[in-house]
């Protein structure tokens, strides 16, 4: 979608033509879902965040400034929305408890266990647990940098913080992930 297209759509949405918003929803839904899922770690919660995010984006479309990137602006809404969602549910429910994590077959020996390595879901749960260790700020900054490939400046803008705070969030996230996934790393070597 070119800049002119986007401007045209935004202008028509601002004039009250809600159907014009459809193009933006259809274009960005999948990326928004991916971000929401990575933040919430739960498919149903992610769907709720997608819906609420687009609703907020529509209600606040007048606040979007043409000089900004629409996707970055949308990501800001999605991250706020996901954070609100997680806060409203209290501490995010961990996908894997610490005791479960310790009992997982990968950890003790450091050697690959072919039987369990084949079970992709176990591996996924370990990554989910590792991401769960991060604070909401660290998790968001890391997801935006690592998966969505936003620049530090864009992340800072999306999170409404300074570049330095965005960087620190990523650094802390990577450090915690290294600790949490140390045994996995050993197996990969």
């Amino acid at each position: 979608m070119g800049g002119t297209d986007l401007e045209g759509i935004l202008a028509r949405v601002r004039q009250g033509n809600a159907d014009e918003f459809r193009a933006l929803v259809e274009r960005h839904s999948t990326r928004v879902f991916r971000l929401a899922f990575r933040m919430t770690g739960n498919e149903q919660d992610a769907e709720d965040v997608v819906q609420e995010s687009f609703l907020r984006a529509y209600q606040n479309i007048d606040r979007f400034e043409a000089r900004s990137d629409f996707l970055t602006w949308l990501y800001r809404i999605v991250t706020n929305c996901a954070l609100d969602f997680m806060r409203s549910r209290g501490t995010r429910q961990r996908l894997v408890s610490e005791s479960e994590f310790d009992k997982m077959p990968f950890s003790a020996s450091g050697l690959p266990d072919p039987e369990h390595l084949a079970i992709g879901s176990e591996f996924q749960r370990r990554i989910a647990f590792a991401l769960d260790v991060l604070t909401p700020m660290e998790r968001t900054a890391f997801i935006l940098r690592h998966y969505e490939e936003l620049s530090i400046q864009e992340i800072a803008s999306a999170l409404g913080v300074g570049n330095s705070a965005a960087k620190q969030g990523i650094f802390r996230a990577v450090h915690k992930l290294r600790v949490a996934l140390a045994s996995e790393r050993v197996k990969k070597i």
Binding site: T30, Y58, Q59, D62, I127, H146, F171, H175, R178, L181
Partner: protein, 412 residues
């Protein structure tokens, strides 16, 4: 040899460092940094394998279908326009010109007595003008779709609407406390200036406050029912009103009853004020606007009324119907003419214009839950049998109004 830190290597991995060439060259001669970097890269590659549930190609259309029904009617939270003008600016004219509207009411009443029909038309027009503030405020807040006080222009509109809505009791309060028009315009200026102060969204829940608020409302309602009924008597038979008043006073001025009522009013005002403010900070939906405005009006009304009553009592003035309405009626005196919009909006305006839409909403949603509204709703259904929901809603509105618009002169 200088080694690179973990943070520097993370930036290198993401291509966010200016020293990229220098770090690459450094790797040729530093096994320690190479090992450190390899560990970082492996960790981040592991995380890459985190799967996301697949979405079909038409996922965007599915989201749109779900979303479309939830998009608010009539646009979003942009600048509020009416015929090219900004309602956000116009709303401030309402409180600014409110004293003029009341003065016009007084002079047109005199004119009506002199010239008849034409004067009556002018009197009615000025009455509509004086009563228009809360309705105008409601219209403006509804146009905002969603209140968001983190934007200065939004705050300007919201604060303007709130002042417009409470103009009658606020002006009366300032007059009664001797501040008069200077105090009035000073208050408007202060509120206007406060729109420049940033505020943050509220995350606090109103659940506990709401419970206390409702209990105090029921206490006040008990008194208000008798009080309003007695005021109706005054229009039919003044001596009867006086007789009933004297009898009722014996009851509510007995022992701790009056302090308890005053405490209930204080609780009602404070909890209501906090809930209104939190609702605004949270970005309330427009269905709550009638409740916010009517609640705020009542809060200021209670304060103004109790202040007037206690000032009068301390001066040894009898706070009866004649004190409230003036000897020749409220329109006969420029000092009592302020009472007309104040009372009309305090009683009929709240009952008919504010609580009815609120109650219709309750009947549709939260009424199905617990608490006072649910109890009243069930009571309405029991009383009215199988009549349709809309009649129930009107009936419920009267109960809700009775419970919440009570204490119209708790201190009399």
């Amino acid at each position: 040899m200088k080694h690179y830190t973990e943070d520097e290597l993370v930036l290198y991995y993401y291509g966010e460092t200016d020293d990229r060439g220098e770090i690459t060259r450094h790797f040729d001669s530093c096994a320690e940094c190479v090992e450190q970097y390899r560990a970082i890269r492996q960790t981040l590659e592991i995380v890459n394998d985190y799967d996301i549930p697949e979405r079909m190609n038409n996922y965007g259309s599915e989201v749109w279908q779900r979303l479309r029904d939830h998009l608010p009617e009539g646009g979003r939270s942009g600048p509020v326009r009416l015929g090219g003008g900004h309602l956000g600016i116009l709303i401030w004219l309402s409180p600014l010109l409110y004293p003029v509207a009341v003065e016009a009411l007084f002079y047109n009443a005199a004119l009506a007595r002199q010239i008849g029909a034409m004067g009556i038309v002018l009197l009615l027009l000025s009455l509509f003008w004086a009563l228009s503030g809360p309705f105008f405020a409601l219209h403006v807040l509804n146009r905002l779709q969603r209140i968001q006080v983190d934007a200065a222009w939004h705050r300007a509109i919201v604060y303007g609407a709130l002042v417009a809505a409470v103009s009658p009791p606020l002006l009366l309060l300032l007059r009664n406390t001797g501040l008069g028009l200077v105090g009035w315009y000073g208050a408007i200026a202060l509120i206007g200036a406060s729109t420049l102060l940033p505020v943050t969204e509220s995350k606090n829940s109103n659940n506990r406050l709401r419970r206390v608020h409702r209990i105090s409302a029921l206490l006040i309602a008990t008194f208000a029912f008798v009080h309003i009924a007695n005021h109706v008597c005054a229009f039919i038979n003044l001596p009867l009103h006086t007789t009933v008043l004297n009898e009722v006073r014996l009851a509510y001025r007995y022992g701790m009853i009056e302090p308890l009522l005053i405490l209930a009013v204080a609780v009602q005002v404070s909890t209501g004020g906090i809930m209104v403010w939190r609702s605004l900070l949270r970005g309330t939906q427009k269905s709550r606007n009638p409740q916010i405005l009517s609640g705020l009006y009542l809060g200021v009304f209670f304060i103004a009324h109790l202040t007037a009553v206690f000032i009068a009592r301390s001066a040894g003035v009898e706070t009866n119907f004649m004190w409230a309405a003036g000897i020749g009626g409220v329109l006969a005196d420029p000092h009592t003419v302020y009472l007309l919009p104040y009372y009309v909006l305090g009683v009929f305006g709240i009952l008919c214009a504010y609580w009815l839409p609120c109650s219709l909403e309750f009947c549709g949603s939260s009424i199905q839950g617990h608490g006072t509204e649910a109890f009243l709703y069930r009571l309405c259904n029991w009383r009215l049998g199988c009549v349709d929901d809309r009649v129930c809603a009107v009936w419920h509105a009267c109960w809700a109004a009775g419970a919440n618009a009570s204490g119209i002169s708790a201190g009399e």
